[in-house]
């Protein structure tokens, strides 16, 4: 009786913890992927801006 109860309690705690950790991990992964997209877009914008600046300078020097 006691062994059965201990097994039930252990697995219940494990199931709750597991669901919480997996949900948190899924949400955090989604957040990270969105932030990565934002980071990449920002990086592309900065690179394009730098390129335009370099072109302008080259044009003036000519």
């Amino acid at each position: 009786m006691h062994i059965e109860l201990i097994i039930y309690i252990c697995s219940f705690i494990f199931a709750i913890l597991g669901v919480v950790v997996a949900s948190w991990s899924f949400i955090d992964t989604y957040r990270i992927r969105s932030a990565e997209e934002f980071y990449q877009a920002r990086k592309n914008k900065i690179e394009a801006s730098n390129r335009r600046h370099q072109d302008k300078l080259g044009y003036k020097n000519d």
Binding site: S11, F14, A15, G18, V21, A22, R33, E36, K43
Partner: protein
Amino acid sequence: MNNELRIKWLMYTVFIGVLPIGLRLLLTSWGVGISYFSTSDFIAFGFVLHISILNEIEHVVGQRVWKTVQNGMSIIAIFVYGAFSCGLMLHESGVSEVNLDAVRNTAMSAALVSLLISLSVFYRPNQVLGEELCTSS
């Protein structure tokens, strides 16, 4: 993780873990006189998933908080599956207090939770671009 690693991980861990459960179901469908589900199959499945998670986490760059949480969860899971094995052995030794059906049902639920955890590891990228901007760790 990149796609190739993901497929490898899925094939080498989830598929191999599910293999004994699938074989048992196949044999049962052919009329072999065994029960549909066995506790030891689910325990083995859980062990395979969590040991592979521990191995895969080693390849993740940075993301220290996430790694610590997943490591801790896998260690707890290995203890839980160890407890299930202990219950099985006690039953085998003749301790009548251990209800085999209860152990089997809880092992099945725990294996389902382990699959959910391993899916959450499976979808995680192993390297984050601009991590200093993206993560809270």
